[in-house]
Subunit: 277 residues, 4 copies
């Protein structure tokens, strides 16, 4: 059994929660907690061995009793989430996701893939995942996004994953999926915000490049960071070499971020995350 | 206030401990716990804000009441430990320790340095730390170690630190300091146990080298590992280059291990450690 | 144009080679060289812009003239190598290889996959790669390997890739593919040679785990190392967690090693490699 | 013998240089070269075993003959450079430099240390290195920098090292030391330019922090990068924890950059570096 809690902090929360579990004869296998003392917020994630007669609904009510008002409580969040993936032309992130989907190690079902190019149609077919082609060409952004939304909303979904989707989404689009859009950005944010980060990195002469998986908010490349990874480079790297190395980092960073999010290890507040890795 | 606990695991320990703190109006700033389910052992480290009238002695007794028999409990372990450092000729680990000692960021006082060579006498003088020269030459191992012990035992000490001390200590010597001798080994253990690890690494053609800080037990290079760090190398590295790179890793690895141990973040059991980093 | 050279070292080799290129009006885009001074061996890899009338055959003869007898010279080695992949049950390495094969970023064509279990048949079908099932059960090792060889030898191949193939190959099998078998070993060799390395690592209490891609020789896990990668772990990792983390490292390590080998960046001598990354 | 060359690229440079060495019976131990094809620039660093009668002055003239006009050629640059170190209050970078200076592993002599606070006077005394106190208080920036310059210019120097010197230097000051001022910046540039980078990093919620050693130019934190290093962090890190971790990275990054520069492994052009590590 998995329980995640996010609420205002107060003295005795750990005692109250663990006391409740003891009373209910629920064994705590692992308990992770964090307090942001500046913001006075409490976060916890408990892996539990329930007692034979544990009733999740009763437990939820009992937790509500002992936690502050407005506490966010999830008991046994769906372990097999539903995602829709948006792509453009690059296969490296999508391919990795499809493989994990196929072998049931993703922690999610890929409902569909939506691409603004056709390139990745075939790989989706191989994995029997629906691919929808929604071109952005000869359309206003408004129309393009309306079409995207219509396509996406055919499917139930927990998260929308931007796996190298190279269009910037408008605030009104993003507003429909608060903290439910995960993007992989091809730089070590906040360095090299915006377009062509590898070209920017090349010109700046950095010695390390990286990638950032983050939730999407209305501010471009400014959303809460989930995972960052880096790799060393040197003067011999052309922009092409950096892109190549970068793709490996992007793929691994997004995979790690998805694992964290899909296992309910990530909490968002303000513009930050708590990640119980 | 700091409390560390190591005991047999049983249901409800976290609830009992955190309940006690709440009852005593002690605020838990941070609580780290770990259960080794195979060995059925419980480990915890609590940073606390005591109430005005908290009495550590009473708290100790109260903890004894709620914890299993034979629980190892430390309340406010000495934050400024005492160490003696054993060295041979290389300065890189000792120098780093002396600097931190001088600027009071080591978390320990260097009582004395004992060297089986004279090379490092001067640097100790600069920092006003007593240096004792105990040569191993023309002596039986037994006599050498007896002399070492006599020198060391002039000083109160919590830990004996082998900062590139290049003599192997006998079981009878080690037996006097169970889990209180910290060594820096110049390889990524268990690879390259024994002498000349960089030469071994060169000959094996590895692509990464490392260092291991561990507690010393009677089995050579087999003690509980505290911290390991690595660095990439390649075919262009001579043994000399590897030694040079290795020294930087050794210095950083020992520094990190000392920080962890001296802040009471390390627990030892069987041949392993729990490190609440 | 690509040229790789491996020969006994002598004074003036770089001058002779670069002088020849200048005479032939061939532009050197990149030149990497290494001398193992202990073994007196010279290694070079040149990326070149040939002149309009450059004749590779003539250039080969000209190089033979200026290089020591027995120099190993390759001009324009096949950029699209042929590989056969041996697997058992785990998909993570094979899946990554198939994806790169599909999108033509592998630098090789996967001729076929041979498995001693059937689990990975389906994924091969998706990518239209022949899968051969050669069970080891109820067979002598001799018979099993004879069958393997017969299957493999249906295909032309440059390299045999063991992508988590969990059977130990006999010397007589290995002898047929000197320096042409690439294996991914699930530990940071030479630590944890043999079976169950993650279990060994768990029991030893290491703080870093890794993977090693190496050429296979007759000595188990002792062949020349191509690439090693690592990841930090801690006391909270169960063997299962270590396996999971390890699979990511294995996949990335094998992918990097394949890239290096398939781009003719790797030279083997004694039990070592030169890798011009 | 060491030779470094930086010049406009043209066909045949490697052949010409290595041919000259062969003619002069000078053995090339290691040769590193790089061509920036965009900028059409050639960089080389040669470690050589000179012949008994090699005359560096004659060799210089011979190189001038074969290299493009305006080639920058250094033969046997001083292996023991002279540096002056500017500091404020933090000891970690300076202490590391003084230790290496003391044990003659720095590759430079620390001529003097200049501090705008008195805190680090004592540690310099221990190492018999002159310390000059030049306060910035109650002075115009102009006067402060004039006093700094007067103090610095008492000493011959190759490089000025800013080892956590917390004042921004004016363009006119910097102009006097083109590519000869090395700074350690406490962030992974170009992320978090300017003041309080750890606070910025904390607020942005990054998962990795870093440090950057770079040459100082007039644009704040915009100079050519020499070395960057990073360390992972997570939500549990306070700003104080980040500063503490950051100091270790800063120290190591500056040490590596100094090694590279002082061994004449670094070339600067435009706003970039070539580092033959």
């Amino acid at each position: 059994m998995l329980i995640v809690i996010q609420c205002i902090d107060k003295v005795g929360l750990v005692a109250a929660i663990s006391g409740l579990m003891e009373k209910e004869k629920i064994n705590i296998i692992s308990m992770r907690e964090h307090v942001d003392t500046t913001e006075n917020l409490f976060f916890a994630r408990l892996e539990l061995l329930p007692a034979p007669k544990t009733d999740p609904q009763m437990l939820y009510l009992a937790l509500q009793q002992i936690l502050p008002v407005d506490a966010l409580i999830k008991i046994n969040p769906n372990p097999q989430k539903k995602i829709v993936v948006l792509v453009t032309k690059e296969y490296h992130c999508l391919g990795d996701i499809l493989l994990r989907h196929q072998f049931k190690t993703l922690g999610a079902t890929v409902q569909a893939v939506v691409g603004n190019h056709l390139v990745l149609h075939d790989i989706c077919s191989k994995f029997n995942v629906p691919f929808h082609y929604v071109s952005h060409e000869n359309k206003t952004k408004e129309d393009f996004e309306a079409e995207l939304l219509q396509t996406i909303h055919q499917y139930p979904l927990d998260y929308l994953v931007l796996a190298k989707f190279m269009r910037i989404l408008s605030p009104s689009f993003v507003a429909q999926f608060t903290h439910n859009i995960i993007n992989i950005h091809h730089s070590f944010l906040p360095a090299f915000i915006g377009a062509n980060p590898y070209k920017q990195a090349y010109e700046r002469g950095v010695k390390i490049i990286g990638a950032t998986a983050h939730f999407v908010t209305n501010a471009l490349d400014e959303g809460p960071i989930i995972v960052q990874q880096v790799a060393p480079i040197n003067h011999s790297y052309s922009v092409t070499d950096m892109v190549r190395t970068g793709k490996e980092i992007e793929k691994n960073t997004l995979a790690k971020a998805l694992q964290m999010v899909l296992e309910d290890r990530v909490f968002v507040y303000n513009n930050k995350t708590v990640v119980f890795e």
